[in-house]
Every structure is written in structure tokens, then in C-alpha cells.
């Protein structure tokens, strides 16, 4: 399954990473060499194998639905890339 330039542009759109034509060509080359190498997995018959989704055999634990940290708005907003003491600021979303 070769990956063409159109697919690279499509993946970059899905990944929300803009790429220019030059970068897309480089990625096309890299991804094809990586996936050609990955294809060797098809040598294995895995029809009857259960997928391994997690190494941890324990069931996820439940915890009390309790607030552990309160009044930390200022801390949370501290690393906000656009300064505002009350909200996170984003470009206009609704026209």
C-alpha cells in the first residue's frame, strides 16, 4: 500500500499539522520507507489471536467522586498562551 502525496496531505489535515509541498514530499518518502518495513507483519497469520490492548491486567479502579483541588483557577490559567485572568482566549469560533 503506497502512500501518495494526496494521502500525506489528508493525514496532515487529520493530524492538524500544516505541511508545505516540499515537506509533504519528504514525508511521502519517509512514510513509504517506514511502511514498507512495517509490511513484514503481514507474514504472520493472526486470525485466531486476541489483540493485546493493555499490559496492566488489573481492572481500572473506581474512586470517590470527590473534589480534591479547589480554587485553582489562577494556577490553571497561568500557562495560558494569551493573557486573560478569567478565561482561555481563542480565535473567534462563531460568526
Amino acid at each position: 500500500m503506497a502512500i501518495d502525496l494526496k494521502t500525506v496531505k489528508h493525514i496532515s489535515k487529520l493530524a492538524r499539522i500544516s505541511v508545505n509541498d516540499e515537506k509533504a514530499k519528504k514525508l511521502e518518502k519517509d512514510l513509504n520507507s517506514i511502511f514498507k518495513w512495517i509490511e513484514q507483519l503481514n507474514e504472520l497469520n493472526t486470525d485466531k489471536v486476541e489483540p493485546l490492548t493493555s499490559i496492566a491486567e488489573t481492572k481500572l479502579r473506581l474512586r470517590k467522586d470527590k473534589i480534591l483541588s479547589e480554587n485553582i483557577r489562577d494556577e490553571i490559567l497561568k500557562n495560558s498562551p494569551k493573557d486573560n485572568k478569567d478565561y482561555f482566549v481563542v480565535p473567534k469560533v462563531v460568526e
Partner: protein
């Protein structure tokens, strides 16, 4: 007395406890040496003044019951440290100052340790040579222009160069063991679930584990004891009775069965590594262990499996870097444009490549062919280990298929770079503990390591085997301080 920075972690602890050396003296020695070692580019953030203040504070009312009393530590910049910049070596987190502390670093500070600074690594821990960092390559103290390995390259370099008495790294596919092997140091990746992942910048959550990097096995057991804890804040942290790895350390490995997997003898592997492996077997026999030939038939498929599973998880984990709540934000014409430009400018080439791979294998129409397939092969790889561990107590392999390489030598060929982790990746896929110990030198006098793989939660056993072998190997890291003017 010899130089303070020449002492091992355990020796420093003993000297502090017997009041022969103060925390301030130790901290000062490491700060001074670190200041003269900029050429290695190990530090991203230096907290030297604070470290000195904290060491004075410790000396004024020393608690000598602590396991790491007043010992300074530089740590990989993947661990969130409250109030201290944490970048994961990425431009996208260049100015990120966490408002919380990772559990692992908190365990260190609770044991009396003091933060020296944050160490360079591959961007988001994606790399095997520390060449993907936004803050530049790390140089190995072994030789000028040589990579220290990765992704915990800054940690390995700082440790080998004696800029920190011991350190911590993270290992998703070999990121502790491979750099340890390249720099002649000891590195252990614990069983998945042994060390908390809370507050570690996530790469591939089903594979990531933090672990100790030290100058010898004894130090390694001490540091693992401090690091490993049950943590309700990590949903995959395992609640088991943790032994006292340090006091439990011993050299009695008589009768232990050690497996030698034939699939780890790969094409093009230098003769020196084969020889080293043979020597390792002899040492084990000398210690009374029994050598057993074993087969792990799916070994060859581990790397391609890893390069589906890890990027898939990474593409999902790294979706959070969108320029909204923290990190870099690039201006865009609208919200989507802002996301795309932020991520394009904030991530480096290797990180983008892996996000693209991960997005592709999870995308509609390809999920079954790639991601589901990889999860099934991962099961086969785990079954291989489950089967052999019915017959053996541990497995001995080389740590890496080659010694360290020059800066730039492999950075243009992703697949050849990925092949570095051929012996370490299966251990992560199966969630097992593995330790790399220095075992010899190649023809260029570059260090080579051997890896011991254990059963889940059997860290004590692989530490004991490593401890026994270490004595026989008697490896000396002879580093001349060429980078200090």
C-alpha cells in the same frame, strides 16, 4: 579523600549519614563541575542557586533517616517539576512551567534529594540518539562528536560525565537501557505499573515507564526502591508489596536458569558484541547459574509492531498540544488554522513523522490492517516471553546491536535509527523489567552493554543477577575530562 564527584550514590549517602560530607559540599561539587561542562549540552534548565540554598537548608536540620539525604539530582526534562520549566525538549513546551509535581520526582524529594536541574532528551522522548531535541544534540563524554544514545541522552551523558551522582529517565522502547549501554552506565526499566506515570509528559502510555540510571547496580537498587510506589493518580499503577530492593540485593544466583534467545543473534551484529554475550554466559556459569538455550520466535516482528503501537498512542497523546490552554500558540486566521500552524511550528520533524504514522494507522480504513494487526502481534510477542518464563528465571541478551555512533551518522534514515532498539523494544511491548549493565568495550573503546530481562515484578532477581555479573565483569569507565577546559 578522593573527589566528591567520583563517589557513587551509595557512598555519598553513607558519607552524609556519618556526617563526613555535608549536602552543601556535595551540591557545590556537582554545581561547579556542571558549570564547566556546557559543551556536552546536557542541561536545559539549571536550578543551581536553589539547589545550593536547599542543601544549606538540609544541613541546618539534617534528617539522616532519609534514603537520599541531601543528595543533588539532575533529572530528565520529561518529568513535571512544580515551578520549574519542563519542556520535553520541545519548542511547543518551551515556556511551560508546571503547577504540579510528578510522583516520581516527588518520591525523590520526599527521600531527601535536591533538584540540580533538568536534562536534555529527545523531543517528547522520540529518538535514539538525542538528536531530535529542540535544544540541540547532547554529546557523550565518551568521545567528542559521539551520541549518548536516547531518548534519555542528557541523563546518560550527565551521569557518565559525573554531573549528577545518579539520575532518572523514562523508557518507552529502550530510552533508558540504550543510552546506559552507550555511556557505560547502569539503566533499569521497571515492570509496567511499578513506577508512577503521573506527571511524566506522555509519549506512548501503554509502554512508558520511568526508571533509575546509575553508576553501579547497588545505586540502581537504592534508587528503584525510592522511585517505585503505588500511585492512585496513575490508573495503571499496580498495587503490590514492593520489596526493599537495596537491602534485598545479594549475589546468590546459584541454580538460577538464564535463557539465551537465539533470535537475538542478528545479521551484521559486530563480532565484539557476540563475544561479549559469550563472556556474559561464562560469568553467569561462574556464579553458579545455569545457561538454557531458548527461542523467542516473534522477536523480529517487535520493532515494526512498536512503530505502529507507539506512534498511534503518541498521535493521541500529543493531540492535546493545540495552543489553547498552554504551550506555544501561533496566530492563525481561524481556530483550525491556529491549530495547524501551532503544531507545525511547535513540533520537530521526528515528532511530526510519528504523529503522521499514528494518525494514518488509526484512520478509517487502516485501523484493522495496521493497529489491530499490531496489537495481535504484540500478544504473540508477550506469549513468547510467557512461554520461556515457564522454563527460565531471566534472559540474557546484548543491550544494543552496536556501540554508540557519531552525531549525524543515522539521522537521515529513520528505519536504521529505529533498528537501534531491536533488543530493548520487545521488553516494553511485553511490559517486563530489563536492566542494562556495562560489560566491555569495542575496538574504539566505546562501551557495550548486556541486558538482563526478568519476569513481571521480579526486579530483585535481575538486580541480583546484574550485581553478580558486575563483580565478575569489573568494568571501569575511564573518561578523561576532555570537554573541561
Amino acid at each position: 579523600m578522593s573527589n566528591i564527584t567520583d563517589l557513587s550514590l551509595n557512598e555519598l549517602v553513607n558519607n552524609v549519614k556519618s556526617k563526613k560530607i555535608s549536602s552543601k559540599e556535595i551540591t557545590k561539587a556537582y554545581v561547579e563541575r556542571s558549570k564547566k561542562s556546557n559543551k556536552l549540552n546536557t542541561y536545559i534548565e539549571r536550578t543551581f542557586d536553589n539547589a545550593l540554598k536547599n542543601s544549606e537548608k538540609f544541613d541546618n536540620s539534617p534528617n539522616l533517616e532519609k534514603k537520599l539525604p541531601g543528595i543533588p539530582f539532575a533529572v530528565k526534562d520529561l518529568f513535571c517539576t512544580k515551578g520549574v520549566k519542563t519542556t520535553a525538549s520541545s519548542k511547543i513546551l518551551e515556556n511551560f512551567i508546571p503547577t504540579y509535581e510528578s510522583t516520581i520526582t516527588q518520591n525523590l524529594w520526599d527521600a531527601g534529594a535536591i533538584l540540580l536541574g533538568k536534562l536534555n532528551c529527545d523531543e517528547f522522548a522520540m529518538g535514539s540518539s538525542n538528536e531530535t531535541s529542540y535544544f540541540g544534540n547532547v554529546i557523550s563524554p565518551i568521545s567528542d562528536n559521539l551520541v549518548p544514545g536516547g531518548s534519555s541522552g542528557g541523563s546518560a551523558s550527565a551521569l557518565a560525565a559525573k554531573l549528577t551522582p545518579a539520575t532518572i529517565g523514562t523508557d518507552t522502547g529502550g530510552s533508558i537501557r540504550q543510552p546506559a549501554s552507550f555511556t557505560g552506565t547502569v539503566g533499569l526499566k521497571p515492570t509496567y505499573g511499578s513506577c508512577s506515570r503521573y506527571g511524566i509528559v506522555a509519549f506512548a502510555s501503554s509502554l512508558d515507564q520511568a526508571g533509575p540510571m546509575t553508576r553501579n547496580v547497588k545505586d540502581c537498587s537504592l534508587l528503584l526502591e525510592v522511585m517505585s510506589s503505588f500511585d492512585p493518580k496513575d490508573s495503571t499503577s499496580v498495587d503490590f508489596k514492593r520489596p526493599n530492593y537495596f537491602t534485598g540485593l545479594n549475589k546468590n544466583i546459584k541454580g538460577k536458569k538464564i535463557g539465551i534467545p537465539k533470535e537475538y543473534r542478528v545479521d551484521g551484529m559486530p563480532k565484539e558484541i557476540d563475544k561479549l554475550w559469550e563472556k556474559g554466559k561464562e560469568y553467569l556459569k561462574d556464579c553458579g547459574a545455569e545457561i538454557v538455550d531458548i527461542s523467542l520466535p516473534h522477536t523480529n516482528y517487535a520493532l515494526p509492531t512498536y512503530y505502529i503501537v507507539a506512534p498511534a498512542e503518541a498521535s493521541s497523546n500529543l493531540a492535546r498540544y493545540d495552543g489553547v490552554k498552554y504551550g506555544l500558540r501561533a496566530d492563525g486566521e481561524n481556530l483550525i488554522d491556529m491549530y495547524e500552524k501551532t503544531r507545525s511550528q511547535g513540533f520537530g520533524e521526528e515528532v511530526k513523522r510519528r504523529i503522521m504514522i499514528g494518525t494514518y494507522v488509526l484512520s478509517s480504513g487502516y485501523y484493522d490492517a495496521y493497529y489491530l494487526k499490531a496489537q495481535k502481534v504484540r500478544k504473540l510477542i508477550k506469549n513468547d516471553f510467557d512461554d520461556v518464563f515457564k522454563k527460565v528465571d531471566a534472559i540474557l541478551t546484548p543491550s544494543t546491536p552496536s556501540s554508540a555512533f557519531k552525531v549525524g551518522e543515522k539521522s537521515n534514515d529513520p528505519v536504521s535509527m529505529y533498528l537501534n532498539d531491536i533488543f530493548t523494544v520487545p521488553v516494553n511491548l511485553a511490559g517486563l523489567p530489563g536492566i542494562s549493565i556495562p560489560a566491555g568495550l569495542d575496538k574504539n573503546n566505546y562501551p557495550l552493554g548486556l541486558q538482563i530481562i526478568g519476569k513481571p515484578f521480579d526486579e530483585q532477581n535481575i538486580l541480583n543477577i546484574a550485581y553478580s555479573m558486575e563483580e565478575k565483569i569489573n568494568f571501569k569507565l575511564n573518561i578523561k575530562d576532555w570537554w573541561i577546559k
